[in-house]
Assembly symmetry: C2
Homo-oligomer: 352 residues x 2
Amino acid sequence: MKTISVKELTDLVVTILEKSGVGAADARLTADVLVTTDSWGVATHGTKLLRGYGRRLRAGGLNPKGVPTIIAEGPSWALIDGNIALGMVTSVFATKTAIAKAKTTGIAIANVRNSCHFGAAGFYAHLAAQEKMICIAVANDTPSVAAPGSKGPVFGSNPFAFAAPGGAHPPVMLDMSTAVVAGGKVWQSVASGKPIPEGWLVDQEGQSTTDGTLYPDKAALLPMGGFKGYGLAIMIDVLSGVLSGANIRDKVGAWVYNPDTPTHHGHAFIVIDPKVISGSFESFQSGMNELIDGVKACPTVPGNGPLAMPGEHEESRRSAALKNGIPLRDDIVDTLREAAQEAGVPFPASLS
Amino acid sequence: MKTISVKELTDLVVTILEKSGVGAADARLTADVLVTTDSWGVATHGTKLLRGYGRRLRAGGLNPKGVPTIIAEGPSWALIDGNIALGMVTSVFATKTAIAKAKTTGIAIANVRNSCHFGAAGFYAHLAAQEKMICIAVANDTPSVAAPGSKGPVFGSNPFAFAAPGGAHPPVMLDMSTAVVAGGKVWQSVASGKPIPEGWLVDQEGQSTTDGTLYPDKAALLPMGGFKGYGLAIMIDVLSGVLSGANIRDKVGAWVYNPDTPTHHGHAFIVIDPKVISGSFESFQSGMNELIDGVKACPTVPGNGPLAMPGEHEESRRSAALKNGIPLRDDIVDTLREAAQEAGVPFPASLS
C-alpha cells in the first residue's frame, strides 16, 4: 500500500493523458473523474483504468482529440456522438447538457453513442447532484454477465447510478453493477490472491465456479438477484444502447482488448430538476432531510452504528483522502507505473 | 383452483367497485388493471387486492368519487394530486399525462401525491409500451423491508417497473420489488402452507427467520441484493415521495390496515418517446429486434429453451387466459367471495 496526495495523483494522470495526445482541459477533466473515484475508495474504477485508456489513446481505439457533438436535440433531450473521445470527456459533456436542459424543462435525457468505457457511473450522477439535480446514469458494456439459465455471458455488467442532493447531508449516491459484483472485483480478488465466493461466477457450461482466473474468457458473472439484475441490464442496454443508436450487447467492444478498435459503448443520462417539480429547491431539500434523518433514527443491530446512506462512505473516504492522501493498493501502483512507463512519463517518488 | 373468463371476472370487479361507490368508467379502468394482472399470472397483485380496496372505498380511506388533478405542470412534467382516488385511477391518468407530454418533448415525468396502493407497477409501464413509449414506473410504500444491519423495516418494498416496445416481439416488461421478494409472496406462502426460504425475512432483532406468520408486524423482508436493493428503494422514495411531495417512508400508510385513513402513497412515471430520440420509431424497433433476437440466439444450459425476455411469460399466460380463462387459487377465490359479500354483490357460479 502506498499513499499519494490527490494533487500529485491528479498531476500524474494529467501528464500521462497529455503525453498520450489528450488536450489539457480534457486531461484535467478525465483525471478529476478517475482520482475522485479513487478518493471515494472505489479502486476498481479509478486510476487503475488509466493504463488501458492510455493504450487505447495511443493505438487509435480512442481519439485523444475527439470532441463529442450533439447530433440532434430538443428542449428536453439531446442525442450525442462521442466521436470516440474518452468516455469521461463525453459523459461529463452529456451530463452537463442534460443538466442545462432540465433546468428549463424539469427533466431531460442525454443519449450517447460512439463512446467508450466511462469509469464510475456514480461520478456523473454525483456531478448532477452537486448542481442541485437528480440524476440517473447508465451505460452498456460488452457481455460478461450470464442470464439465468444461459451458458455464457449475455449482457454487460451494465452499471446503474442514481444521485440526488441530500439536504443538510452529502448527496445520496448509489452506483451499482447489475452483475452480482463488478467484474473489477473479480480481477481485484485474483490480483490480491483472494478466493472468489460461490455465487459470483458460472463457467462455460453455466455451472457455478470459484476459479476467478477463468473470468472473463471462460466464465461469466451472475446477474444481481437473478432475473432482476438480468432485467435491469436489459433496461440499460435499451436506454443507453438501442435508444442512443450505440452498439448493443455483444457488438459493444471489450475496452481492455483490441486497443486499436473503437468499442462504441452507449450511455444515457436522465436529469431531473427538483426545483421545477417541487416548486422550490428548499422544499425538496426539506423532504430529503426528513428522509435521511428518519433513516438515521432507525434502530440497528448491536455493533452497528446508524444506517449509512448510499454515497456516505465514499464521501467520508474522500474527506480523509483530501487531508491524508489516497491509499493505493500495490497492484494498482504497479498498473500506474506501467501506465507512466508506456507513456514515457516519470513516476512520482511517493509511489516508488 | 377455479377458472373464470376474463370477461366474467372483469364484470365481477366492476360490480363490486360500483357497489362501493366508484363511477362506471373508473370501475372499468380499475378492473382492467387488476384482471390484466391476474391474466399475467401475477396473482399477488391482481383481484386478490379487491377486498382491501373495497373496504377502503366504503370506510373513507379511498374516495370512490375522487378525481386526480394536475397541481402544476410544464411541457415535460406534471405534479398530480391523487385526491385519494383509487391508485389505479390516478396512475393511469398520470401515465397518460406523461405519455402525451413525452410525445412532444421526448421525455416527461408525472409525479403523484395523495394516492394509494396502485397494484402492479408493470401495468403502467406496459400501458406506455403499448403506446410506443418507454416507461419507468415507481411507487413508495409503508416500510416492510429491512436495511442491511437494521432491526426493523426501513423502506417499503418500493416497486420498480420498466417497459419498452419489443419490435416484432411483445413489449419488454420488468416489474420487480426492491425487496428480495414481494410481501405478497410471503402471504401467499403462508396461505398455501409453504415454508418461507432462508434469506427472505429478518425478525425484530434483525436475525434471519423462516416464520412467515411474523410478517409484517414482527418481521421485515430483506432488500434485494443487500445494499443494492436498499439503495434502489431510497431512489424510489426520493422520486415518488420526496419529489412528489407525497408521504415518505413510515409516513406512508399501510393500505391493508386502517381502511378509514388515507395512505398518501407517492408515485413517479418517467416516459420517453423513442420516436423523438431515435429519429423514427422504426429505427428504434429495429434495434429492439436486434437486441431480442440476439438474446434468443444465446446458448442455454441443457433442458432450458431459449432465454425469456422480461414480460414474455406474462404475455403467454395472458394469451392463454383470454382463450381458456384465468385460473384462480382457492385462497384468492375466498378473498374475492368476501369482497363480493361485503359489497353485497352476488358471487358468480363459476367461482362457487
